[in-house]
């Protein structure tokens, strides 16, 4: 500890603390303008100048570390003069458009001038500020309002890692410029801007900050669940903000979080129920649904009724959905898109580790000594994970290993890039495991304690053929060894895997192989690091927790074993068996399933979309409960307008098991209803028993039955204290190494379907801002493949596979290796998902000019 005196007050702080931080400890406020806690100090504004006894010049408090015994003065006549004069200089040629400036009312420059009583400006100079920059999408830059604090540059470089902003030009002509190519349009530059320099174009001139009501809630675009404030006025969302302090995301947002709210306000929103495509009242529509269900049950039995739910719905809604089906309808034919991704990851991890999701909090990634990102693009799938990786490997000195088929953004920062061949994931995981053991980089004591079948682990790894693994993965042995070395020597490891694993063929086995690797790298020990399966969808963890799949009831309780207990509680006899999504698809095709309820989900975004499309046409009654029109709302017998996260209460569970309440920011549009009200209404109609819905009632029912969420305590609207499930603490010998091996044979040109960093599911394709950035899904192709196919950049092509065709423009990119195409799936009309066989994310395709 270092002791010093600030304005006569004694303070003791750890070494390397800055004077500014030390002053905060004793409640002394030193004025700042460019200081931003979450980035490295810049020392640009010089407002925080302080005097130190014995040092002639002033020192800036924000970037000067403390020293034992120093005497600091933060207020003096001389300092006041310096601060005022510097402010006066900053104001030279600052425009007087405060009344129409977007930052008016929340401008740090205004506030600092006010605090320092800067009320005149005597310096003058020629105005050499560059013109306003208007050609960037979504963000306007007004250089003459800029105070060159570089907060935007630093947040972009240090926190987000996009590194697209930079200071251009010299002297007073200097301004913040941008490399548009690398911009992620996350809007963090706008949020941190202390003045009106960086402006959100969608928000510009729309509202005054002080007139907006801030509603604290959770962003559900992905599973990161950043804590946000909906800025609301008159039933409309004008912008989304997030505080640096007290939020798990430190005020950072991604492009969808910051700009992607447009779909909520979309004029296309479904506002009234439709029956046979005609507007109808809720009574008529729900009556129609009830009648149809009863008719189908009457004719074909409850087994002919099926439903798919959604990770866009809340915990309570998913709970009610499965209860509606199992208890009120008597069908266990329920599933979701998790079948083709998250559920595989879950099963893989469960089988090896007994783990149902992430093993640790997202924040714990930030202090891991090594991070392995395996078959994931966190920037796209869960941006908050990307920021934590940046923290671990760039703000701190952790090692980053990126294993991916293509160059995702994080590859830029990787110490090791394991560019494996498609389909070789298991072999890659196995060979890393083998090398860890060979090099003595595993903790034998830990393995002995944790693993139940250590002999199997050893013998399986001993059988891993290095030469074969090198051939399969296409990665040189030296590079594999180097990666193993980094993983093995780190005392804490974060292991993150994503859609390339879980959505692929043999996804469950791949997840198991990664779980094996997690054991060997010690990922599951300690406070830092951890194992993180990623799924891009917002409340995927909540959906799984609520047991919306036929194999399990809420709390991952095996269905057959626990159905009687639940039936008892629900006053119903639960059906036996149950179809999963594949079964439902087949059932529709063969006439076994006659009624399908789609709750906020669109199977046309599932693999083999055209098969789904054909099957959906066959059912007697298709109910689509959604927020925006799509091909299926046109096909539906009944359309029920649901609501977005901004219009509902209820709770959601993040990918790291934080359970948080949503707060209703605006009323549901038109006649739309919160989705849980719809389920409850149907439940009441079918069972003739009214169902009360309240967050606390449902969650206590959940916890009573499943044991999950037992420790949850929402305190009012308190968004600073997330409720957590118990940390993962496996019992001794509870890990079961699972011997999986082999690669998938890969032939021909392969297309990989995945997520864009600018789009989230299909809803963001209704957001004007996201469409301005990416209006269509481009097919990334290696220039060599493009040349073979005879196509040029931006040319339209047709892709064909054994299951369907898709169209789109190509984008020539070195990010994809020769032989692999990558296309985002969000634009269902493009048909990318039609190219994929059932349940897969990769397919052999042929390419031709369209």
């Amino acid at each position: 500890m270092v002791s010093l005196t600030i304005d006569g007050k004694q303070v003791s702080v750890p070494a390397e603390t800055t004077i500014l931080e030390a002053a905060q400890e004793v409640g002394i406020k030193i004025p700042t303008l460019c200081w931003l806690q979450k980035v490295s100090p810049t020392g640009a504004c010089r407002i925080c100048a302080v005097e130190i006894k014995g040092i002639e010049r002033t020192m800036t408090a924000c970037n000067t570390p403390v020293k034992d015994g120093i005497e600091v003065t933060t207020q003096s006549e001389a300092l006041t003069k310096i601060r005022k004069q510097i402010m006066e200089l900053i104001l030279v040629n600052h425009p007087l458009d405060c009344p129409v400036c977007d930052a008016g009312g929340e401008c740090d420059l205004q506030n600092t001038c006010y605090e320092l009583e800067v009320n005149r400006q005597e310096f003058k100079a020629e105005d050499v500020n560059p013109e306003t920059i208007d050609h960037w999408q979504l963000i306007q830059q007004v250089p003459n309002r800029c105070v060159m604090c570089e907060k935007c540059v630093k947040v972009c470089h240090e926190v987000v890692g996009a590194s697209s902003l930079f200071v251009n030009e010299k002297g007073d002509r200097a301004f913040i410029d941008k490399d548009l190519e690398s911009c992620e349009f996350c809007g963090n530059c706008v949020s941190v801007c202390p003045t009106g320099t960086m402006i959100s174009k969608p928000f510009k001139f729309k509202a005054r900050p002080w007139a907006l009501r801030k509603v604290p809630t959770v962003c559900t675009h992905c599973g990161s669940h950043c804590q946000i404030d909906l800025n609301v006025q008159g039933g409309e969302i004008f912008r989304v903000t997030s505080d640096d302090e007290g939020t798990t995301n430190n005020g950072n947002l991604c492009t969808a979080g910051f700009f992607g709210y447009g779909y909520i306000n979309s004029p296309q929103r479904l506002q009234a129920p439709l029956v046979d495509q005609q507007p109808a009242s809720w009574g008529v529509a729900l009556g129609h649904v009830t009648d149809a269900i009863e008719q189908v049950i009457g004719k074909h039995g409850a087994g002919a009724v099926a439903g798919l739910s959604s990770p866009r719905l809340t915990n309570e809604e998913n709970y009610l959905f499965q209860k509606l089906f199992r208890a009120a309808i008597g069908s266990n034919n329920i599933d979701s898109e998790a079948r083709y991704g998250a559920l595989r990851a879950l099963k893989g991890l469960d089988s090896v580790l007994g783990l149902h999701g992430a093993s640790n909090l997202i924040s714990s990634i930030g202090s891991a000594e090594a991070v392995l990102v395996f078959g994931a693009d966190p920037t796209a799938e869960a941006p908050a994970i990307d920021w934590k990786i940046q923290e671990a490997t760039r703000q701190k000195s952790g090692k980053l290993i990126v294993a991916n088929m293509r160059k995702v953004k994080l590859q830029r920062f990787a110490n090791s890039f394991l560019n494996y061949r498609p389909g070789s994931e298991i072999e890659l995981a196995n060979v890393l495991g083998r090398l860890l053991v060979d090099k003595g980089l595993v903790d034998e004591d830990y393995l002995n304690r944790a693993v139940g079948n250590l002999d199997e682990l050893k013998s399986h790894l001993a059988g891993v053929d290095l030469a074969q693994a090198v051939a399969a993965t296409g990665i040189e042995l030296a590079q594999l060894e180097e990666a193993a070395q980094m993983l093995g020597t780190a005392s804490t490891v974060a292991l993150i895997f994503g859609a390339d694993i879980s959505k692929s063929e043999r996804g469950e086995e791949k997840a198991a192989a990664i779980a094996n690797l997690a054991i060997l790298t010690g990922t599951l020990r300690g406070e830092a690091g951890g194992l993180f399966p990623l799924d891009e969808k917002g409340n995927m963890q909540g959906l799984l927790d609520m047991g919306v799949y036929p194999e399990a009831l809420p709390g991952f309780l095996p269905y057959a074993e626990h159905s009687s207990a639940f039936g008892k509680a629900w006053n119903a006899e639960l059906p036996k068996g149950g179809l999963d999504a594949d079964g439902i698809l087949q059932g529709m095709e063969n006439g076994q399933v006659r009624f399908l309820y789609l709750a906020a989900t669109n199977p046309l975004s599932f693999p083999n979309a055209s098969r789904w499309r054909k099957a959906l046409e066959k059912v007697d009654c298709l109910v689509v409960q959604d927020i925006l029109p799509n091909e299926l709302t046109e096909l539906a017998t009944v359309v029920l307008p649901g609501t977005t996260f901004a219009e509902k209460s209820g709770s959601v569970t993040s990918l790291d098991h934080r359970v948080r309440p949503l707060e209703r920011g605006i009323r549901p549009v038109g006649d739309a209803r919160e989705d849980w009200e719809i389920f409850a209404d149907l439940y009441a109609r079918l069972t003739k028993t009214p169902l009360t819905i309240s967050r606390s009632d449902i969650l206590s029912e959940v916890s009573g039955l499943s044991g999950l969420y037992g420790d949850i305590c929402f305190v009012g609207n308190d968004r600073t204290r997330p409720c957590l499930k118990q940390p993962f603490s496996p019992a001794d010998k509870s890990f079961t190494y699972r011997a999986v091996s082999g690669s998938e044979p890969v032939e021909g040109l392969q297309l990989l379907s995945g997520k864009s960093i600018f789009h989230f599911g299909t809803t963001s394709t209704w957001s004007d801002s996201q469409l301005e950035l990416v209006p269509e899904g481009k097919i990334e192709i290696n220039p060599e493949d493009a040349s073979t196919a005879g196509v040029k950049d931006c040319e339209a092509v047709k892709l064909s596979s054994s299951t369907g065709v898709a169209f789109g423009k190509v984008s020539l990119s070195e990010s994809v290796p020769v032989g692999l195409l990558f296309a985002p799936y969000h634009f269902t009309e493009q048909g990318i998902q039609q190219l994929l066989q059932d349940g897969r994310n990769r397919s052999k395709v042929t390419i031709s000019k369209a």
Binding site: E16, S40, T42, G43, A44, C45, R46, A49, I52, I55, E56, R57, T58, M59, T60, N63, T64, P65, V66, K67, I70, I82, Q85, I86, L89, I90, V92, F123, K124, A125, E126, V128, V147, M148, E150, K154, H157, E158, S163, V167, E169, K170, G171, D172, R173, A174, R394, Q395, K396, S397, F413, A414, N415, S416, F417
Partner: protein, 673 residues
């Protein structure tokens, strides 16, 4: 400069405007009379004041121009007083110059100069110093402008950005810029900055004697910044993150250059000319895998791991440089042939021949008496038999001698003994190298002079007879001259004796018919621009060579660089010298004339003047001391066959912390001619 009119340099006011002949050492000795051998230097304006050597100089106009250049060309805009303050300063001075000034503007200039003391770095801060001096001491001239009595006359100014460290670095790397980039977590940018002046960053991030650190202003607060290891950090970051260097050579051009020797000088010239698009062929005497010249065969792998050196070489080759190995110029191909095949030739053969020691028996060919330190290091590096036994004596006190004793341990010597005629304090070797040898178990015999090699009947060395020395009066180098103590002869037993007292270039390939003159120190003579100071003495560099050399030899189209031109010095000196050679050759190719630019002259003038002032009182809080890199300790690091790197560099976080200590001591120099 000519006779002094006025000087405020170093805060010492000498004013001869009303008569008088006051002068200062700087004007007398440090600065040349001319800027470029022809045009007179009439005024100098910089971080420490102004010097006027011609009464006709318009000091007001010069100050206005100075402020303008600082603001428009150099101010980084990264702090408010700097960005805005220098703009206001520039405009205020411009107003005065236009006859639109008022007397109160002078007060404003004074206030601004005060305010600029709060800047983030010293660029804008020190730029206020000379401007303020002009207001203070040339007030009448200002008032004449303000009264409308004067109009500016045309004048020519030369401006240059410098910093004490950058000036002292023989390669003139923009050190503050790359340190700032590291501070900002931008290692790639840092490396790009380094590469603008230094194509061997991994090498000079490891084995540079870092003269820059001896001119670091942070020394005046506590200790110098660890500039070298920060360079290593930037360079290692690239390969440790598997990044591809971003440089792209310009389209191929017609004229080609041949380079003799793939050492630091040859590689540097090759790199910069290749980037410009010129085809470069390097002829290297050693076989493939041993490129790098003295960096490879003179610096052991525990200091400079071979694969890391090879990466720097590979990057240079990827710019379009061809290295033809196993080809000794003068034996396998003649210099004249090279001259015929190429449009220009650069001689950069280095200095690879050990100097004789002058002991009795050294020419007898005794077994166990090795040719020399540099040959020993080369053989060891190349895995050839060295002829070394178990008890090894190395004679010398320089870095090569230290490398030899440390390599001897790694080659399996049981005893490795250094014989040096002065004391540890006088050793020219870097202190950290001597300490390293000490830690590894090297034995030192100080104040001894070998006289005679002792052999047995088989002509095998068994020892060396030495005489004890004592230190007498200081010699030219300022070190006390060692003198033998009569009757103190004794024998140091050994089976191997290695002389390592210095090396010479082997210039036997430069035949007489070329007409290229060789100095008596066995270096190549190159053309230069004579620069004299006011008292008529030639200005020389630290090796005694003329200060401002064009690097062209007596033969048209043949240039020389590196140790063979400068005299045996350092990697970084070779790099700086060879970078200039590349520029000169480019001008030779493009304009048909090998010449130096104003920037070259300015650079040499500043380096002779010295930008660093060890007596400057630097006011700063010394909260965080210098951070040294991690290192493997213990004798095991020098066990037989263990050439693992001893020094381990910084973690990124340590590098950032060290970079935060940098005071960013930029300065702007302006010369009126």
């Amino acid at each position: 400069m000519g006779q002094l009119v006025f000087s405020s340099w170093g805060r010492e006011i000498i004013d001869n405007r009303q008569g008088g002949d006051g002068t200062s050492e700087i004007v007398q000795k440090k600065l040349p009379v001319t800027f470029d051998g022809e045009r007179s230097m009439v005024a100098f304006m910089g971080w420490d004041g102004i010097i006027v050597a011609d009464p006709e100089v318009d000091v007001v106009a010069m100050a206005a121009e100075y402020a303008k250049r600082v603001q428009e060309d150099y101010c980084c805009a990264k702090c408010s007083p700097g960005k805005k303050g220098t703009r206001v300063l520039q405009d205020t001075l411009a107003r005065i110059l236009n006859g639109e000034g008022e007397e109160k503007d002078l007060a404003e200039i004074e206030a601004l100069a005060d305010l600029l003391q709060n800047c983030k770095c010293t660029l804008c801060m020190t730029s206020a110093v000379p401007v303020l001096d002009t207001v203070k001491y040339f007030r009448e001239d200002y008032l004449a402008y303000i009264r409308g009595e004067r109009r500016p006359r045309p004048a020519e100014y030369k401006v240059k950005l410098t910093a004490p460290c950058q000036d002292k670095c023989p390669a003139h790397i923009d050190i503050p810029a790359y340190i700032e980039a590291i501070k900002d977590y931008r290692y790639d940018e840092a490396l790009s900055v380094i590469r603008e002046s230094m194509p061997l960053p991994a090498v000079c991030g490891r084995v540079c004697p870092h003269p820059c650190e001896s001119a670091c202003r942070r020394k005046n607060v506590d200790e110098s910044i660890n500039i070298m290891v920060l360079k290593r950090t930037a360079s290692d970051y690239e390969w440790q993150h598997q990044q591809t260097p971003p440089m792209q050579p310009k389209p191929r051009k017609g004229k080609s250059v041949a380079i003799v020797g793939a050492g630091p000088a040859g590689l540097t010239t090759a790199y910069y000319l290749a980037l410009e698009g010129y085809p470069v062929t390097i002829y290297e005497a050693l076989p493939e895998g041993f490129g790098g010249g003295m960096i490879a065969v003179g610096i052991p792998a525990y200091r400079m791991p071979r694969h890391i050196l090879q990466r720097d070489i590979d990057i240079i080759c990827s710019m379009g440089v061809e290295i033809i190995y196993d080809t000794k110029v003068g034996e396998d191909i003649s210099l004249m042939e090279l001259k015929q095949k190429h449009d220009a030739v650069l001689l950069a053969p280095g200095a690879h021949k050990s100097k004789p020691m002058g002991v009795e028996g050294e020419k007898e060919g005794y077994s166990g008496f090795l040719a020399g330190g540099i040959e020993f290091l080369r053989d060891a590096y190349m895995g050839r038999p060295t002829g070394m036994g178990k008890r090894v004596c190395v004679v010398g006190g320089g870095n090569t001698a230290i490398d030899c004793v440390r390599v001897a341990l790694r080659e399996g010597a049981k005893d490795s003994i250094l014989l040096y005629r002065r004391t540890r304090k006088e050793m020219p070797a870097d202190v950290w190298e001597v300490d390293g040898a000490d830690e590894e178990g090297v034995q030192f015999e100080f104040l001894v002079l070998p006289k005679k090699i002792i052999v047995d009947d088989n002509r095998q060395v068994t020892g060396v007879e030495c005489v004890r020395m004592e230190l007498g009066e200081p010699d030219d180098s300022g070190r006390r001259r060692p003198q033998p103590v009569e009757g103190s002869e004794f024998v140091v037993e050994c089976d191997t004796l290695i002389p390592a007292i210095g090396q010479d270039p082997d210039l036997s390939f430069i035949t007489e018919d070329t007409g290229i003159e060789i100095t008596r120190w066995n270096t190549v003579v190159t053309k230069f621009v004579p620069q004299k100071n006011l008292v008529g003495r030639d200005l020389n560099d630290e090796m005694g060579n003329p200060l401002t050399r064009i690097l062209l030899t007596d033969m048209d189209g043949v240039f020389a660089s590196g140790d063979a031109e400068i005299g045996p010095l350092t990697v970084v000196a070779c790099v700086g010298n060879a970078h200039r050679a590349a520029k000169v050759i480019q001008r030779y190719f493009e304009e048909g004339e090998a010449y130096l630019t104003d920037d070259d002259f300015h650079e040499d003038i500043l380096s002779h003047l010295g930008v660093y002032d060890k007596d400057e009182k630097v006011s700063w809080l010394d909260a965080i001391g210098r951070f040294d890199q991690h290192e493997i300790h213990g004798r095991e690091r020098a066990s037989a066959g263990n050439y693992n790197e001893v020094e381990l560099g910084f973690s990124d976080q340590e590098a950032i912390k060290e970079a935060e200590r940098c005071l960013r001591c930029y300065r702007v120099s302006m010369i009126a001619v």
